[in-house]
């Protein structure tokens, strides 16, 4: 299985996302923002960072990159796409997911181990989780406050599109504690926290058993492999 990891200028967590893909057992293929060629990958990860400096609006310029035109087209045909942090912002700016992301409510960048509840397991990226499983993965962003109109929120909740919700405190003022979403089809998932930073013992969040041993993020990547194998 080949999973593409996109690098925009200003992308930061691309090497981390590629490592996560490898640890999960797939081949990571690096995709370049200016290149519309998806190199026949089976799924795509839009990693975190500050694409194009996040000037204008987070993810807004990246959403217009040549590689995104192709990703949007393929995503609408069912290609699994995971947007992490800045990647989530790109997905929202690309209208692959609804709503928007604004500055954290306390105005500060925040980096911490964050509790999440997995509220939907019918997606390409969450099918290996238990429904309502509580997981811990790192959160690190300055603009992670999720917003949507009242009507949109109602639809998201009604259709079960909310995939992750913050637990143990809402870190950034996100409406309805929303941490991540899926699209109707379930192939596109976006979230603010970083599963790729919780895939390798020794370098993830602390757990009750040992320092930095949390690997809850690995199931995102195992999920997509599972869905591809069973597709």
């Amino acid at each position: 299985m080949k999973i593409g990891v996109v690098t925009f200028p200003g992308t930061l967590d691309d090497r981390d996302a590629a490592r996560a893909v490898r640890i999960a057992g797939a081949e990571a293929v690096s995709l370049w923002h200016a290149d519309a060629d998806l190199k026949k990958v089976d799924a795509v990860v839009l990693p975190g960072g500050f694409s194009y400096g996040d000037y204008l609006r987070c993810g807004a310029i990246a959403a217009q990159a040549p590689v995104m035109k192709e990703i949007i087209k393929k995503a609408n045909q069912g290609l699994p796409v995971l947007g992490i942090c800045n990647g989530f912002q790109v997905l929202v700016e690309s209208h692959l997911l609804p709503g928007g992301l604004i500055r954290n409510s306390d105005q500060h960048f925040i980096c911490r181990d964050q509790g999440l509840r997995v509220e939907n397991t019918s997606t390409a990226w969450t099918n290996q989780f238990e429904l309502n499983q509580e997981i811990t993965i790192p959160l690190k962003n300055g603009e992670g406050g999720y917003i949507a109109t009242a009507a949109e929120l109602e639809r998201l909740e009604g259709e079960g599109l909310v995939t992750f919700r913050y637990i143990g405190g809402n870190p950034n003022g996100s409406m309805n504690d929303i941490a991540g979403l899926r699209n109707e089809r379930g192939n596109v998932v976006g979230l603010m926290p970083h599963p790729e930073h919780a895939v390798e013992p020794g370098f993830g969040p602390d757990t009750s058993s040992a320092m930095r041993s949390g690997v809850d993020g690995l199931l995102f990547f195992k999920s997509v492999l599972h869905s591809l194998v069973n597709a």
Binding site: G10, G49, H108, G202, F203, S209
Partner: protein, 770 residues
């Protein structure tokens, strides 16, 4: 090219011909920070008066910040007080942009800490942001991929209304720039003290990793190679920043100097990092230098001087943000995110393809020449014609007057004992209250409000980070080979005794690296002092550098580089001498690192080392009694080395469940941090410390005696561990056991529920600045 054709239009620029013809023209050398004899020396070197462009270059390159003219004679000892053995792993020593250390398996690391103090007071956000940007480019220049940053901060008193302005600006500046660069922030220091009120210290450290063969040096030596400026465009920011800001003491009546501070664009720097790494990989640069302090003046003269060659540069080719910039301003501009590469002609095409891929702008300014002379033209007119060495390396060297401070004997005599300061020893209620007051005081309380604003995950290699004693990063994903860094400085100790204070900083950083399980290898420093024109400050500097050099020799680890920041004073009042010492450690496999807190119940807690009555200059004397006087703790570096060896050996055998250094606020602070790290309670007794070491309870809890560590050991490893300590002659005393009680119980003193401790420990900083 349009600019190039603008021949013979009277530009008004001061040419070398003009300079030769008008020897008596008045020049603003004084305003540019030069002394009369320095100006005379420039005229002597050139055999004429300098052009205004040359004057700009010399003035900025001969400033204290760039030339180290007051510190040079003392910094030499870092290169002299070394044994051959200490140099074994040193690939590049002092004098380059950063030192490079061989860490094995074909890997090397380069690390350095630098000050950005003055800009960060004037414009805290941009000052701190560009401080991070500058040090990261220094690391990049060596051919390394930057892999982490740290910062060492000193602010004024928390109750002063101006402190919040500086804290907010500096912390968000570091957060903004560092996070956007994608470099994990793995640790640092934050200290509040009124002595830093008008002179906050913002030191930034970066570390990078490279394969041995990728090492790059800042030199231009092959005639015909092209001189390429690339990265951001040159603007009016930071003009004269170095000479005007860093080399003058703040005058409270002076005008605002805001425009002299540089403005940072971390996105441009991130792209520049990736672009440079691709250039290195393609092997298309023969030499490279970042543009930091003194901008183009520094890059051109240093590259040529280092390569024993010269350069011919067309200054009109510099890409500008503002077309109205004069040649002098272009030479002095400190616009950020710029690099200068020396590119062999045959590699130029490949070079251009890579910078264009990253959409980085570049301009081909000229060529390297054999004659050791730097020629800079503005169109057809020659505006600089100088021997580059005289600009870059042969600047003035001063042996400033040194005087033993008039206040020193009085300060040393005014000890905790002579004052008879109250010790709560037998009054458990008071003693427990003191403990609480200390661990919730601004300097001892949790700094997570600050550090939670920094990304410590990016890169996926962070093995230890704040609040651990050191920051540790994996370098090789194959073997687990990694490095760790700790930095320390105690300005209060240094005020009492700068020689001893510098050694104490070294000992603490060394110990902090050791408790993480790494082997200390090399040292960097950032020496923050008052005005070198004050003989008493110069005495402090002389003592501190001697202490550090002697300490490094004793420990057998070399200084690989550093930075000096003088003029940290407001009016006549200097800061406490603050030599920040950074120690780099190496660990074969980061999987063997030692946590800083307790994770498992039922482990025995041991105190290694002995406790003396050493409360002068301590946190206890500061927080409880607002007192500073007496003599700092004694340092025994042979013991520190033995202790580090023991920890390293025990870590290799997997005997240690945790290890935590004892320093500020002594055992009390270490116990609180150890229980809170993973929320594991403990029952501790301190009476045996008092009995064995003949000290009172105040000392047992708060003394800052050096060479001490608390470790926790699983019961199954007990005998082995104690045997190891005894065999190596390290005093070891069992002082407690970890448990699931949810409390820290200090027997016969008090019991603190962890929740209360956590709330108190975490609440202080947000309450002040949140």
């Amino acid at each position: 090219m349009a600019l190039f054709k603008k021949k013979s239009v009277p530009s008004g620029v001061d040419t070398t011909t003009n300079a030769a013809e008008t020897p008596d023209k008045h020049q603003p050398w004084k305003e540019l920070g030069l002394k009369e004899d320095e100006y005379a020396r420039i005229r002597e070197i050139l055999g004429r008066r300098p052009t205004s462009a040359e004057l700009a270059m010399y003035s900025v390159m001969w400033s204290e910040h760039c030339s180290y003219k007051s510190s040079k004679i003392y910094l030499r000892q870092f290169g002299e007080k070394v044994t051959d053995e200490m140099k074994t792993n040193l690939m590049v020593g002092m004098g380059e942009n950063a030192g490079v250390v061989d860490i094995g398996e074909g890997w090397a690391v380069t690390f350095k800490v630098e000050s950005h103090n003055h800009p960060s007071y004037i414009e805290p956000f941009q000052g701190a942001a560009t401080g991070v940007g500058g040090i990261v480019r220094d690391i990049l220049t060596m051919g390394a991929r930057p892999i982490a940053v740290m910062d060492q901060l000193r602010f004024g008193a928390v109750e002063n209304p101006d402190t919040a302005r500086v804290v907010h600006g500096v912390v968000s500046g570091i957060s903004f720039y560092g996070n956007c660069l994608g470099l994990p922030n793995i640790g640092g220091e934050t200290v509040f003290d009124r002595v830093y009120q008008g002179n906050p210290l913002v030191n930034a450290l970066s570390v990078g990793a490279l394969r041995h063969e990728d090492l790059k040096l800042a030199k231009a030596s092959n005639p015909g190679d092209r001189v390429i400026l690339f990265g951001a465009r040159t603007g009016a920011d930071g003009i004269g920043g170095v000479s005007v800001l860093a080399s003058e003491t703040f005058d409270s009546a002076g005008p605002s100097r805001r425009p002299a501070v540089q403005v940072g664009d971390p996105f441009a720097e991130k792209v520049l990092i990736e672009c440079c790494l691709e250039l290195y990989k393609a092997d298309v640069v023969a030499g490279i230098q970042d543009l930091g302090g003194a901008g183009l003046s520094c890059a051109t003269s240093e590259l040529a001087s280092n390569g024993n060659a010269g350069m011919r540069v067309q200054l009109q080719k510099v890409l500008k943000r503002d077309e109205s910039l004069t040649p002098e301003e272009i030479l002095m501009s400190e616009s950020q995110e710029r690099m200068m590469a020396i590119v062999p002609k045959k590699s130029l095409k490949k070079f251009i393809a890579i910078v264009e891929k990253w959409e980085v702008e570049y301009s081909d300014l000229g060529e390297v020449i054999e004659e050791p002379r730097l020629y800079i033209n503005w169109g057809d007119e020659e505006i600089v014609n100088v021997p580059p060495r005289t600009v870059a390396h042969d600047g003035p060297v001063y042996e400033r007057p040194v005087a033993f401070p008039a206040y020193q004997d009085g300060l040393n005599a005014d000890s905790v004992h002579s004052r008879g300061l109250y010790r709560a020893n037998d009054n458990s209620t008071d003693l427990a209250a003191q403990l609480w007051q200390i661990v919730t005081s601004p300097n001892q309380a949790s700094k997570s409000w600050i550090t939670d604003q920094y990304d410590h995950y990016v890169g996926g290699n962070t093995a230890l980070a704040m609040p651990d004693d050191s920051g540790m990063v994996r370098v090789s994903e194959e073997s687990g080979l990694g490095i760790s860094i700790a930095t320390d400085a105690n300005g209060r100790f240094c005020q009492l005794d700068p020689y001893q204070g510098a050694k104490l900083a070294l000992a603490e950083a060394y110990r902090n690296v050791a408790v993480g399980g790494a082997k200390p290898m090399a040292v960097t420093n950032c020496l923050n002092f008052g005005s070198p024109e004050n003989p008493e400050v110069m005495w402090q500097f002389k003592q501190a550098t001697a202490g550090l050099a002697d300490g490094c020799l004793e420990l057998g680890i070399p200084v690989t580089g550093g930075n000096v920041s003088f003029y940290n004073q407001t009016g006549d009042v200097a800061i406490h001498p603050t030599p920040v010492v950074g120690v780099l450690g190496v660990i074969d496999d980061v999987a063997r690192r030692i946590p800083s807190g307790w994770q498992d119940e039922g482990n025995n807690i041991y105190l290694l080392g002995t406790t003396k009555d050493e409360l002068d200059g301590s946190v206890w004397s500061e927080v409880i009694h607002d007192h500073l006087g007496g003599r700092p703790p004694v340092v025994d570096l042979a013991h520190e080395a033995a202790l580090a060896d023991l920890l390293h050996g025990a870590a290799q055998q997997g005997l240690l469940a945790s290890a935590h250094d004892l320093s500020e606020a002594g055992l009390a602070q270490a116990l609180v941090e150890s229980v809170l790290r993973f929320n594991m309670g403990a029952r501790v007794w301190i009476n045996e410390i008092s009995e064995r070491d003949n000290v009172d309870r105040t000392c047992a809890l708060f003394s800052e005696s050096t060479g001490r560590v608390i470790v926790s050991v699983g019961r199954e490893d007990d005998v082995k561990f104690v045997g190891l300590c005894e065999a190596r002659g390290i005093p070891v005393l069992r002082i407690g056991v970890t448990d699931n009680s949810g409390e820290l119980e200090i027997q016969d003193l008090a019991t603190f529920p962890l929740e209360d401790l956590r709330n108190g420990f975490k609440a202080t900083i947000p309450a002040l600045f949140g």
